[in-house]
Each structure stands twice: as C-alpha cells, then as structure tokens.
C-alpha cells in the first residue's frame, strides 16, 4: 500500500470543514444549517481518522465513534426543534426562530 501524506488528508478535512462553515454562515433555511453542521462534524471526524491512521493507534477511531454518536443525538433534537418551529411559525427562516415563545 503506497503511503498517503498525512497533510493531504488534513487538507481535505480542512476544505470540507470550511465548506460547512460557509454554508452555515450564508444559509437562512434552518434545515440547510443543520446539514452544514453535519458536514463540519464529519470533517472533524475525518481529521481524527487521519491522525489515528498516521500513528496507527485506535484512539482516532474511538473519537470518531463518539462524534458520530453526538451527531445522531444532535440531529434528532435539532429536527424536533425544526418541526416545532415550522408548526408554530409556518416558516423555515432561521431569523424567525427568536419568536418561538418557549
């Protein structure tokens, strides 16, 4: 197996993270913002896997499992909040989310 330089994997993770960051900054649709957070979490997990592969240690993959668990919990709560927002305000505009009244 030919070795892949570690910084190439890290550069890929950085590019994906920045794409997610751009998307979470420019989007007003709240579902798109949630998806962008998923992209950023996934990029962070990729960085952990790359680091784990570099030192051939299982810690990177352990951290990826924790990240994936957190992403699953976060997306379920986020989607429940989005459903409530849509039922109360009939919009997906994140600027309207300050009127949810508890």
């Amino acid at each position: 197996m030919n070795p892949i330089p570690m910084e190439h994997g890290l550069v890929l993770a950085g590019i994906l993270f920045m794409l997610g960051l751009i998307s979470v900054l420019i989007r007003r649709n709240i579902i798109f913002m949630l998806v962008s957070v998923e992209i950023m979490l996934n990029a962070a997990g990729l960085a952990f896997i790359v680091a784990g592969a570099r030192w051939a240690q299982p810690e990177g993959q352990v951290m990826f499992i924790f990240i994936i668990t957190m992403a699953a919990a976060e997306v379920s709560v986020g989607l429940a909040l989005i459903l409530q927002l849509y039922h109360q305000l009939k919009t997906l505009d994140s600027d309207a989310a300050n009127q949810m009244h508890g």
Binding site: M6, G14, M18
Partner: protein
C-alpha cells in the same frame, strides 16, 4: 491506493460544494449521501474499514433518512425553493465566503509548513478499536449512552404537538 484517495477526495469536495449551493433540499441531501460515500472510501483507504461501514450506516443511512422524513412531514412546495433562491443572494454569501476562505488559506499554510512524515500504511483493526473502547474509554461509552438517552427524551419532549380540544363554547389548547 493513492489514486483512489485523491479521486474520492475530489468527489467529496465537489459533492459538498453541490450540497451547499442547491436550492432544493432533496437534491442537496442526495449530494450529501454521495459526499458521505466518498469519505467512507477515504476511511477504507486510510485503514479504518469499520469506520467506513459506520459512516455509511449511520450518516448516509440513519441521519439522512431522518432528515428526509422531516422534509416529508413539512410539505415543502415549489414556493419554498423560490424562497431559498431569494435568500441566497450574492451580497449575502460573498462576505462570509471570503472570510472562511481566508481561514482555509491559513489552515493550508500551516499544513504545508509543518513537516510531517507520511502515513505508515498499516490498518487499525476493528478489534483494537473495540478493546480500547471498552478498556480505557469505557467512561466515554457510558456518557454517550446517557447522551443518546437524553437525545431521545429531548426529541420526544420537543416534538410533541399541542392537541387542540374543541368545545362547544370555548376553544382551549391542552398539553
């Protein structure tokens, strides 16, 4: 192996760009699945086959399907796509994009300035991951179990609808 890595990386970047520029949510989610599959190929190349399987099962399977179910419950129409198009004007996205690109260029500079030796090329077995998950990291496993429980309870509590009770004389909402 190298070629596989770079091809998968290119596919991941292009499909992620497509995700963040789509107006239609379903199209964006389809590109998101492609991006996750490409990243899963990268995990496989990097010697983490179990994580590649988890990426497909949890991200591309469970999470994206959950988002699709919610989109189906929301009854989004063509008007929402038009709204999305109005919300995404160049004046809005240019500033944040430039700022993020500045950060990315700093990151790239740091990665290229550091001299890191190349990847050793030996895969980490799923058994080693399991041994270390249930050895030194058992506290983290228990904490993530509690986090998932809190997520389930929180999602149920937040997603509950207020039932409307219609009476002959007065209309009130009940929990």
């Amino acid at each position: 192996m190298e070629l596989t890595f770079y091809l998968a990386a290119a596919v991941a970047i292009v499909s992620t760009i497509m995700v963040i520029t789509r107006y239609n949510l379903i199209h964006a989610l389809l590109y998101l699945v492609v991006s996750f599959l490409a990243i899963s190929v990268i995990f496989f190349v990097l010697g983490a086959p179990f994580m590649a399987a988890l990426e497909i099962i949890i991200y591309a399977g469970a999470i994206v399907v959950l988002i699709i179910f919610v989109i189906m419950m929301l009854n989004l129409t063509h008007e929402d796509v038009q709204h999305e198009k109005e919300w995404l004007r160049p004046g809005i996205w240019l500033g944040p994009a430039i700022l993020s690109l500045v950060l990315l260029s700093e990151l790239l500079y740091i990665f290229t300035a550091a001299d890191s030796p190349s990847y050793r090329g030996q895969p980490v077995e799923a058994k080693a991951v399991g041994m270390s998950l249930f050895g030194p990291y058992i506290l983290g496993v228990e904490l993530s179990g509690m986090l998932l429980m809190a997520g389930i309870v929180g999602a149920y509590h937040l997603g509950r609808q207020k039932r409307k009770v219609m009476h002959r004389f007065l209309e009130e909402t009940e929990l």
